[in-house]
Symmetry: C2
Subunit: 195 residues, 2 copies
DNA sequence: CGTCGCATTGATATCGCTCAAATCCGGTGG
DNA sequence: CCACCGGATTTGAGCGATATCAATGCGACG
C-alpha cells in the first residue's frame, strides 16, 4: 500500500500497454507508485538492445532517483496496463522531511532495493550461465528448495540474468536433464534441498 | 565528513591491511564510515573467486544494509590501512528518526548509491569489453571527454567491469590504437569529445 | 485465419577466459 | 647500494562458452 501520508499528494493516472510514462532525458518531476499493472524501466543500447534497469510491479515505487536527479535516466514503458500514483518530487521531499516515520520506512525501502541490485550486479559478474541461474535461485528463491515464481517470460528472466534467451533455454534444459532443477509451469526450484 | 549528529555515537577503530572488519554471516551490529583507507566488501564464489560487491573509500559509508538486515551479506576486508567510525545500528536508527535533516541526506545518499549500482548492473549486461569500457566512461566520466581518474589498478577496474585483467589490457590497448580513447597515467578519457 | 511474440532447437563464429611467461616497479632487508 | 620479492602490467596461444543467425512450433488474440 502506498503510504497514507503521500496519498493526498498523489494524482492517479492510467496507462495502456505500451505507453511511455516518461523518457530518458525528461525533467524528473515525480516519483511513481504502481497501484496495479507493470512498468519497465529500460534503456536502449546503440544497436537497439533493450536493457531492463528495473521492473516495477503492483505495490512498488519507481523513479525514486528523481528526488536526487534533474532528469530521468531511463525510459519507463508500461508492460501491463497500469494505474500509477504520481507524486510530485517537491511534495515527496516535503513529506520526507516532515514525517520521520515515513523517512525511516523510505530509507528501509531504499536499503532493500540496494541489496537487490547489488545481488544482481554480483550475479552478472559470475561466469557461466548455470552459475547465474544458481545465484538467482540462491538470492531470489525461498524455502529449502529455493523456489522462485517466475513473473514474466523466460526472455525476461534471460534479460535479468544478462544472457540471451537461447542460452538460458539451453542452460535450463541441461540443468533439468542433469536433475539439478525442476520446472513446473512458472515455478523454478532446486530438485534437492540446498544446504 | 561524517555527519556531526553521528559523531558522538561512533567509535573510532583502526585496522591494518588485510584485516577483516566483519564476515559474511556475522550479526549486523553497525554501520561504518571510512575516515581514511579503503575497505572492500566482497563475497567468494564456490571456487574462491573474489567478487567485489563494493569498495568503500575515505568519506563513504558502508554496510548501510545492516540497518535492515540481521546479518552481513559479505566480507569486509581492509585493502589499505584504515580508520573507521563504527556506528551501532540502534544509535544510527535513532538519529535517523530524530533528525529529519539527516534522514533526508541519508535518503539522498542511498538514492545515489542505487543509481551507481544500477549503472553497474546495466553495464554488466552489455556484450563486448569495449562496450563496457564506453559505458563506464559514459556513466562514471565527467566533462565533454568523459574523463575518469582511476583510483586503483587496472586489475581493479577489470573486476569492476566484470572482465579479466588480460581482456581489459587488450581492449584498452586496442581502443588506444584505434584512437578512441587516451590514457595518461591514471587518467582515462575519450579522444574525441562525446555528443 | 493470419499475425505476433514466446519457446525451442540447430549450426556457426567470435569473444573472452584460462594458462603461461616475460617485464616492470616499488618496497624491503641485507 | 644492491638483491630480492610480490604485485601489476603486458603479450601470446588455444579452447570453450556464449552470442548470433536461422528455422520451426505453438498459443493468444484480433
Amino acid at each position: 500500500m502506498i503510504e497514507r501520508c503521500l496519498q493526498e499528494e498523489a494524482r492517479l493516472r492510467e496507462f495502456l500497454k505500451g505507453a511511455q510514462v516518461f523518457r530518458q532525458g525528461d525533467v524528473a518531476r515525480a516519483v511513481f507508485y504502481v497501484v496495479d499493472g507493470e512498468v519497465q524501466l529500460c534503456r536502449f543500447g546503440r544497436r537497439g538492445e533493450r536493457i531492463i534497469v528495473h521492473r516495477a510491479r503492483a505495490g512498488e515505487y519507481f523513479a525514486e532517483a528523481s528526488l536526487e536527479s534533474k532528469r530521468y535516466h531511463c525510459d519507463a514503458i508500461v508492460m501491463k496496463p497500469a494505474r500509477l500514483l504520481e507524486v510530485p518530487a517537491a511534495r515527496f521531499r516535503y513529506v520526507l522531511r516532515s514525517d520521520p516515520d515515513f523517512a525511516q520506512r523510505w530509507s528501509a525501502l531504499l536499503s532493500r532495493q540496494l541489496q537487490i541490485v547489488r545481488a544482481r550486479a554480483e550475479r552478472m559478474s559470475l561466469v557461466g550461465a548455470a552459475e547465474r541461474v544458481r545465484h538467482y535461485l540462491a538470492t531470489a528463491g525461498s524455502g529449502p528448495r529455493l523456489e522462485v515464481e517466475l513473473r514474466g517470460s523466460i526472455k525476461d528472466l534471460a534479460a535479468e540474468l544478462g544472457l540471451t534467451h537461447e542460452t538460458l533455454y539451453r542452460t535450463l534444459a541441461r540443468m533439468q536433464k542433469s536433475g539439478e532443477i525442476e520446472r513446473e509451469g512458472s515455478r523454478l526450484r532446486r530438485r534437492r534441498a540446498s544446504v
